[in-house]
Amino acid sequence: MIDDNGKASVRCITCTHFRNSPAYLESVLRGLNTMSSGHASVRKDDGVCLLHDLYLSADAHCEQYVRAQAGG
């Protein structure tokens, strides 16, 4: 499946286990907003995989991918 940006959508960004909102990241990566920001360009779309407890690129993927429900 292809997403709005023309990329294969089996990626962390569309997985139900992935979280990458700036507000969420600033709450779990303690100190992030002290000398950086969840809204910074350097972060790109990186986020947290709740399943594997990793902080990684939104373009990653794995065998445990589960497509997120719309609106969730």
Binding site: S21, R30, G31, K44, D46, Y55, L56
Partner: protein, 467 residues
């Protein structure tokens, strides 16, 4: 598709966002810093070419000797401060609303920041302030640390304590005061010096970490934090290598602690040995860990220059030296570091899940606010080219450049105060002794090597910035 601040039922405040792509033009604060900074510069220019100036709204406290003078001056200009507050509130509110912050949280918080910023700025204008080391950057940081760690403020007020946004906007405004010719002249030297220190520091931290048995992803994250770009460097590399969730907070803790130490250590040591402000600025640029902290240190030291202290150089030399070293020498390369480590992680390390690194990462992770910085510098350099040096100093500087510089100073004070307000030591992640010593080993190397390169090898450049 969830909004940036929508909440899932599983975690409060947690939500996915779609892949950003070019939506980052309005969803990343770097771009808003460009719009804000270049917008101010453009408005300032339009006023200038129409025979006017924005200096009325770019008001700053005047030098004073007695408290009555300070209060009197403030009272005489209270309308200007009010107008300036409204200006800042409007521009920040618009951008931060788009980024997902609530006006009801940002506005009162920013009012708090602005009121204290006036007080901090005014104290710094006391004619005895330098004698007591009451430099606004240091004072702002210290006051913020006291408030956040001993008094406490509600968490929602973080909406107004946007350290990175303020410093990025300030850096774009700084571009308007830094001639592009200086960037061309000293930029290559900054890149060479910064590269030597960055690679050396990273190597030390990385291999000491491995020697201590730390995970190589943590080692890389610590190394990036200490060598490249502080917290931003740490999170960029952490994401690129697929680090464990706890690795980034560990590196963030190390960066914050040492960055705050260096805000005080570097200027005070520089003062003790009477370093030229440009040389000290370059040293701070190699040995500080974050832009915000580094500007605090550089501006604090620059303010100490003058006949009374015997410190050679100008305040601008310190800030320019730091900017060249940190922004051009280190920040702009973060995308390359991230791409290289993504490549190493996927081709040499085994990890899950797998990512195919794309060279486009270099662009997407590029700290875009630097584009605004360059554009501002080019723009003002072109404007200045139409004037003789004498006319530039007589006309352009007071009517166009100085007001922009004043607004930059305000943005920096907002930033320095916010650093203190958001540094809650009890809330920082526990790092453990091994990451501490691995990172600290890099700090020692960084500080010493940066000192040697700045004060000996390339001193000629850094002490000649004004020329």
């Amino acid at each position: 598709m969830a909004s940036t601040n929508g909440a899932s039922k599983k975690e409060s405040g947690a939500a996915n966002v779609s892949s950003m792509g070019w939506k980052e033009l309005y969803l990343k604060e770097d771009w808003w810093a460009i719009y804000l900074g270049l917008g101010i510069i453009l408005v300032a220019f339009l006023f200038f070419v129409s025979g006017s100036s924005i200096k009325w709204i770019a008001v700053t406290p005047a030098k004073w000797h007695t408290l009555d003078q300070a209060i009197g001056y403030f009272g005489d200009h209270i309308g200007q401060y009010l107008a300036q507050f409204i200006m800042w509130s409007v521009v920040f509110t618009i951008s931060l609303r788009v980024l997902g912050f609530k006006f009801g949280e940002f506005f009162p918080s920013f009012l708090f920041v602005y009121i204290f910023s006036i007080i901090i700025f005014m104290i710094g204008q006391w004619d005895q302030a330098s004698h007591y080391n009451l430099e606004p950057p240091l004072l702002a940081l210290a006051l913020g640390l006291i408030i956040s760690n001993f008094i406490g403020l509600p968490k929602w007020m973080d909406a107004g304590f946007r350290v990175e946004y303020y410093i990025k906007a300030g850096i774009v405004l700084l571009g308007a005061t830094l001639p592009f010719t200086l960037i061309v002249w000293a930029g290559p030297v900054a890149v060479v010096q910064a590269t030597i220190v960055s690679i050396t520091t990273f190597t030390v931290i990385y291999f000491v970490s491995l020697k201590m048995g730390l995970d190589r992803r943590l080692a890389a994250t610590l190394g990036a934090g200490g060598a490249v770009c502080g917290v931003s460097g740490a999170i960029a590399i952490a994401g690129a290598v697929g680090a464990k969730k706890e690795h980034a907070p560990i590196a963030i803790t190390m960066v914050i602690i040492w960055a705050i130490v260096m805000i005080f250590f570097l200027p005070l040591v520089s003062r003790a040995i009477g370093l030229h402000t440009g040389v000290a600025g370059a040293w701070i640029g190699t040995s500080e860990f974050a832009d915000a902290a580094g500007f605090a240190a550089a501006q604090a030291y620059g303010n100490m220059a003058g006949a009374a202290t015997g410190i050679p150089g100008t305040p601008d030399d310190a800030v320019f030296g730091f900017t060249l070293m940190k922004v051009i020498g280190r920040d702009i390369w973060i995308g390359i570091w991230a791409f290289l480590f993504a490549l190493i992680a996927t081709t040499r390390w085994e990890r899950r899940p797998h990512t195919k690194p794309n060279p486009a990462e270099i662009w997407w992770r590029f700290p875009k606010f630097v584009i605004g910085f360059f554009l501002a510098s080019v723009f003002i350099t072109i404007v200045a080219a139409g004037y003789s040096q004498a006319d530039f100093n007589k006309i352009v500087k007071p009517e166009l450049v100085s007001p922009i510089k004043n607004l930059r100073t305000w943005a920096f004070i907002f930033c320095f105060f916010s650093i203190g307000l958001t540094t809650r030591f009890r809330e920082l992640a526990a790092a453990g002794m091994k990451p501490f010593w691995a990172f600290t080993s890099g700090v020692f190397v960084n500080v010493i090597l940066g000192f040697v390169l700045s004060t000996i090898v390339f001193a000629g450049y850094w002490s000649s910035l004004s020329h």
